[in-house]
Structures are given as C-alpha cells and as structure tokens.
Symmetry: C2
Subunit: 476 residues, 2 copies
C-alpha cells in the first residue's frame, strides 16, 4: 500500500502487451490451420479472446498512459491494440494522442467504429478533435447528439481552429454574490458534481455577467456565515472566445492558473479554459516548432512509414537543392580564379560554414526573444547593433586565427589576409540576416521557425563563397 | 468593472517606466547643476523621488508581470528599476526572472541590499535560487533565519540541483483518515490558512505516512458527516526528493496535476511540489535546449552585453573552425583532381549541404522521440532501418535530379553520375549519424542538444567532400 510512483512501469506495460500480441499471432495462425468449415469461427473466437486480453492489461489506466503505451508501438501493433480498446476508453485516449498519431489512427479505423468512439466524447472534446475526423463521421455523430449538445458543438465549431473558443469547456459551476458560504457548500453537497479541474467557482449576476471568482481554497477557509461577495476576487482575469490559444497559454504560464473564465464581448460568462487543455497545447506547439526549424512538418514521428517520411521531407530537400545550386553559382563565376589557385576551393567552405554558425546563434536568440515577447522597437534596434558588434569582434578574432593558419599552411600572407577579411564580412552579414529575417517573417504574420534557417544558410553560403573568391580575384 | 484581460498592457507599463526614467535623468542632471554645498542633498532627494515614482507604477502588480517588464529593458534601465523596487517586491520578482537575468541582477546588486531581498524569501524559494546567490550573502541570510527555517533550508540544500528536493515546498496541509468532513472544514475555518496552490489536502497517519489525498473538490462535494477515509483517493501518485525535476515535470504534464506529495523512502510525507514550479522548470529547460542546439549557453539573452555575448559564443565558433579545417582537408587531398576539372569545386558544396540538411531532419526526429521517451531497443532499430531507407529513396530522387542538372549544365554524363552516387552515399551516412549520435550521447548521460549538430555537420561535410572528389578522381 505504498504510494504509487508515476510512469515507472509504462515501458513494462508496453512489453507485456507486445508479448501478448506475439502470442496472439501464434494462436490466430493455429486457428487458421483448422479445416475449412471451422476456420471462420475459430479465428473469430480467437480474435475476440485476444482483444479481451489486451483490454485486461489496459483496464483502469489513465487515458494519457494508454496513449503513451500505444504511441510506443510500431504502426501495425498500435493499430491492433487500438482496435482492441472499448469505444469509451478509445475515446478518452483519442484526446491524449499526439496529433500525428491521432490522424493516422483515425484514417485506419472503420467508419462504424469511429462513430461509436466519437459519440462517446463530451461535446467540448469533440469540438477539439472535430477537424481530425472525416466529415461523414461527424455528420452521423451530430445526428445522434441531443438537442443541447448539438447546439454546443455548433457554437464551438464556429470559432477558428486554435482559438480559445475551441479550447474552452462549456461546463462551468457558478454562484451568486449574495449567497452565504454555508449555502454554497450546501448546494454543492446536494448537486454532488463539479466539472473536472475545478479550482474555483465563477460568480455571476442574474444576467450571467461575470462578477468575480471564488477559489475552492477560500471557500473552505471562510466561515459558513460569510457571503460570496465578501471573499470573492473581483475583476478576475478572463479570456474571450476569439483569443488565440497561444494567448491563453501565456496567461496560464505567467499567472500559474488552473482555470480561467471565458466571457463574450458583453462580459457574459460563456465557458472556462482549464490548465490541462493549455499544457497539451503548449507541448504540441513547442514540438511543431522544433520540427519546423529542421524542415519537418508536425505530421511525422519516429514510427511514421517510410513513404510518409520521404514525402514529408521532400519539399525541404528540394528547396535546399535549389538554394545550394544558386549559392554555388557564385563559385562558378570564379572558376578561372580557382583554376589559378586551387587551394581557394579547399578554404572557401570554411568561410561559408563559420558564417552559417554565427547566423544560427543569432537566429536562436531572436526566436527566444519572440517567444518571450521581449521585442519593442527599441530592443530590436539595440539587438541589431549589438549583434553586428559581436560578430565584428568574433570575426576579427576567429578570422585572424583562420587567416594566419591558412597563410602559414600555404606560405602566402596575402591569402591569409583575404581569408580574414572574407570571414569578418561574412559574419557581419550573418548577424544582420540572423536578426532581420526572423523578425520580418514574424511581422508578416509568418511562422519564423519555417524558413529562417534556409534563408540564413542561403545568405551565408552565397556570400561566403562570393566574398572570399571575389577578394581573392582582386588581390591574389 | 469589466473583467481584466491578461498581459494586455505590459508593454504600455514598460513604456511608461521608460518615459519616467528619461524624465528622472533630466531631473538628476538639474540637481547636479546646483552649487557645490547643496549638490549632494539635491541629488539624493531627487533619486529618492525617482525611486518612489517607479514603485508607484509597479505597486500591486503580479511578480511575474514585474519580472516581464524588467526583462523588457536594456541592462542599465533594468538595473535602475530593479534598484527602485522595495526589497519584498524585488524578492517576489527574483523567483520569476529567467536564470540569465537573475544572475546578472544579482551580480550588480550591492551585498547589503541582496541580503535584505534574500531575507524576504520563503525558505523553499530561497533554496531554489540559493545557487545563484553569493556564498557570503547566503551565509548572512542563514544567520538571520529562525531555527526551523534554517533547518529547512539546510535540508533542501542537501539535495542535488534540479531535483524534486530543491523544487518542493515544505508547507503542506494534512488531515487524518478518521476525521469527518465537517471536522476538516471546521479546522480549516479555524486555521484560516492553506498553502498557495492547494488543490488537495494530504491524508497521513499518526507516523506521518502518506495514506491518500483529498481534493478540495471532493471536500466541498461530500456531506459533512462522511469521513476522510470514505472519500479520499488511496495510493496517490507521489514523488521522492531525489527524483529529477524533469521526472516530476513529465508526471505533471501527463496527469494534469496541480500538486503532488513528496515522500521519503519510508513513505513519510515530507513536502509537496506545485504546478507553478514545474511550469517554470519546463519553460527554462525547453529554452536552454533550443539555445544549446545553436551552440549558445543559457546565460545569454537579447540584452546581454557585447562582451558577454562574444565570450559565450566563442567556444562554439572555435569548434566550428577546427572541424571546418579538418573537413576541408578532405578537399586538400584532391587539389590536383580539382585542378584538372575545376567545376568539381563548384559542385562539392551541394553534396555536403544536402547531407547536412537530411541529417538535421533525422536529429530533430530523434530529439522528439527522446523528449517523449519513445525509445525502446525495438524502436531504435526500427528507426535506424527506416531512416536508412528514407534517405536512400530521397538520395535516389534528389541525387538523380542534381546529377542530371549538373550533367546537362557541364555537358558531361559521367559528372552527373558521380554527383548522384555521392549524394546517395552522403544521405545514407547522414541518416546513420543523425540517428546514432544523439542516441549515443543520451545513453552516455550527455545532453544530446549539445554536440549532436556539430558532429553531424562534421560528418556530412567531410564525407560530402571526400565521396564526391574521390569518386570524381576514380571515374572522371
């Protein structure tokens, strides 16, 4: 009866299921070996038995853990376990999957089963995944919903994806200012229900205008004879349904919130956002950004099929190939210079490479500033000036070192000086491009994670080759 | 009286303070203009007035917002505002700063003021920042603490940095199984205190062994005559003080928790970790990783001084310079081949560049898998095999395209074939290195964010140059 430790045995659970699947395949093969008349029934019985085995292992597990275990399987095994889940457990896990995994499982699940799973979801969870479900499945699920749930779902669907309207839950517990704490507690005992992740009740007036919020903490601390108005927080922080999910995420992070009310433009309480939805959003977004910077779309994970992966990476490689061909045209122009002094070919990649590296350091810093919303016109100018000076200093330091090394190696002082000059200039360009490209993409409303590093590498490669060879052509 | 919206006007607050500082400088200059005898007093009075102005703007703001506003200033202005803060408000903000900003402010703050600020911190907050404070300041603060707080601080300091022991708060509210809900509520009214972010009370027996947890939510829903034992959750998830903060963060994310008990190895309740500490930890870690991948240490932000920045980036640039010199030695070997056919110099960077790009895509995928703990021996093998096949396919596709383009451009079919072969081979190497390097670093207990991309680029550059030139030397 010692306290549980989290996640300790999820890999063990996955291994147990993997062993079961192995065993099941053997049994199914045996069943298939029966003579023709019995085969159909034997296989079916065996499959039913197998599904029950898997269900037994996963029964009662937290949906996030079920999702984790399934995500640790390769596609085929994952699908087999997924199909063994009861529709209600499958529904709970569906919300917890990474979007990639969810999309793939949905694609591979039969229409009939999908309708049963989707029907087991709450309207607000359904709104959150509705874009991932096929239109005909959603239509059938909508049919089967009660009047009220259907209206709720329609309302949520009306908000743009990634908005607070999609993230919010409509299930809120409210109280009135005039109630005494004793009454509130009595009401709660009678109702015997609070929505999940309720850390506070919302105080509204007769027209449902949000007046304040009453944390459970102050509720249990206050004496029963006091009134809600006395102990509530007035002017609570609130979101609008049209706010972006990113905006909500920042508020939750900054103020360490568990739930936040959502009000319409007349200040009426229409819903509530909870920290679990926000944490999932933050994780998925951070994840997408990291992949986007390497030129991958979020739709790929380590278990993606070869075909999906190859297709996912192709656009980026094509862009890379084109920019590389264009950048090396700067070399093509100077082929006669290289012919005259072939060591230039050996040294030029160094100039390009150190430029790319400094530029990427600058880009990483700008990304961080953007994530923390640190930029003002002042700080932008300040950063640009500082990055230029830093790269000038680094250029002089490392450019001299590289120049002296190259000059000594090839016993030619002029070569060293050309190399030093090219490095200094290229680092300066790298700093300017590294600051301006992500800031400009961000201002244009584009995602700076996509494109910044391609454009940067393109600039530092072309300029690295061009500056070095052009200076060599002039002075050697 | 409409509900507040979060963060709407923080930039406005920053602007207001910036204007104040401007105004203050003018006033101080005026004061300095007074004749010699009055000057000292006039300047001092003016400075006191200026500090009061700044305090007025920031009074009552959430510490996270104070930290945000300060972080949006350049170093000099930031220091001026920081010095104007009351020690108690400065203490609250100190916890919320990014570690970089905190370290720099601490360095620039006088010893006397630092002691006053640190003394205003709770013992568990003090434990969290103690590594950032100078030893003599900590010694003086320890002196001034009461017996109990000093013991608490000593205990926390005994745990390794980044452990649950450092993250946890010792302030926990406990109840007994045998108590009735009515009694619990009565006790809470009498005590009139619960630690911050209390979403649950912890149930312990007479020896302080953790028996369960009682959420405030079930507390307010249950009737007063029921007992704690009836409605508590048995076997609650619990952490150990020696668990890593990362382990705690995963548990909070996965189970959407607000607080978690910490028990020692005999199961006794010794503290509590809350979601706010965990969210800060996640943000700081994600941030550090992103910078580390670009070769920056976490100790830099967009306002770092030129000198700090240049020093911070130098090691990485030196490594880059060395690997670039070594990689280009593979070109040096083939200088006579290039002399014979100078277009090789133009084309070779393309082979290296596309290799680096594919490799980085693979690295990003492996990082994601590591972050989500998706790797098992099976999935490692699976991923390696898949990446090799994907890069073979992409190599054939884009290698042919590049080869045909180059062959046509230089009207030499053999050149196109050499280029194609070199790209296919280099992409295969990139995939293998991209999978194996981060996994190996991770297994060795090193941070894969540092070093993976240097090693990868080194491999794809050297091999890109070597394969292309060697094949050209053999077949052209």
């Amino acid at each position: 009866m010692s306290p549980q430790r989290p996640t300790a045995d999820l890999h063990a659970t996955a291994a147990e299921i993997a062993a079961l699947l192995e065993h099941h395949r053997a049994l199914e093969a045996l069943a298939r070996g029966q003579d023709r008349t019995q085969r159909g029934v034997a296989v079916q019985l065996q499959q039913r038995q197998n599904a029950a085995d898997v269900q037994r292992v996963l029964r009662g597990m937290h949906p996030a853990d079920v999702a984790f275990v399934l995500e640790s399987f390769e596609q085929d095994d994952r699908l087999q376990v997924w199909n063994a889940l009861e529709p209600s457990q499958a529904a709970e896990a569906l919300i917890e999957f990474e979007p990639t995994v969810r999309a793939r499982l949905v694609r591979e699940t039969g229409r009939h089963r999908l309708v049963r799973i989707a029907s087991a979801l709450d309207p607000d969870d359904l709104a959150w995944v509705s874009d991932d479900l096929p239109e005909d499945v959603m239509a059938e699920v909508r049919e089967s919903l009660g009047e009220i749930d259907r209206t709720l779902l329609q309302q949520a669907d009306a908000y743009p994806p990634q908005s607070v309207g999609r993230l919010m839950s409509l299930d809120v517990a409210t109280v009135r200012e005039s109630q005494s704490i004793g009454d509130v507690l009595q009401d709660l005992h009678t109702r015997a229900y609070l929505p999940e992740h309720s850390d506070r009740l919302f105080v509204v007036d007769t027209r449902n205008l949000l007046r304040g919020s009453l944390s459970l903490q102050s509720l249990v601390l206050a004496g029963p004879q006091r009134t809600v108005a006395e102990i509530m927080e007035g002017n609570p922080l609130a979101l609008r349904p049209e706010d972006t999910a990113a905006h909500a995420a920042r508020a939750f992070e900054r103020y360490d919130l568990v739930s936040m009310p959502v009000v319409n433009d007349r200040g009426k309480l229409i819903g509530r956002v909870t920290v679990d939805a926000v944490v999932d959003f933050i994780r998925v977004t951070a994840d997408k950004d990291a992949l986007a910077m390497a030129g991958l779309s979020g739709a790929e994970d380590i278990f993606s099929s070869v075909w999906d992966s190859a297709r996912n990476r192709s656009p980026w490689l094509l862009v890379n190939l084109i920019t590389a061909f264009v950048a090396t045209r700067f070399i093509g122009v100077f082929e006669t210079t290289i012919q005259g002094f072939v060591s230039l070919a050996t040294l030029m990649p160094i100039v390009a490479s150190i430029g790319g590296n400094t530029g990427n350091q600058t880009v990483a810093l700008v990304f961080r500033g953007l994530a923390f919303e640190q930029f003002t016109p002042d700080s932008r100018r300040h950063l640009l000036r500082k990055e230029l000076i830093v790269s000038l200093l680094n250029g002089i330091l490392w450019g001299s070192l590289a120049g002296i090394t190259a000059g000594l190696f090839y016993r030619r002082a002029a070569l060293g000086i050309v190399m030093m000059a090219a490095i200094i200039l290229n680092l300066t360009i790298a700093a300017a491009v590294g600051v301006l490209v992500p800031l400009t993409l961000h201002r244009m409303g584009r995602d700076p994670a996509q494109g910044s590093s391609v454009l940067l590498t393109f600039a530092t490669d072309s300029m690295g080759f061009f500056l070095f060879l052009c200076l060599a052509w002039l002075y050697l």
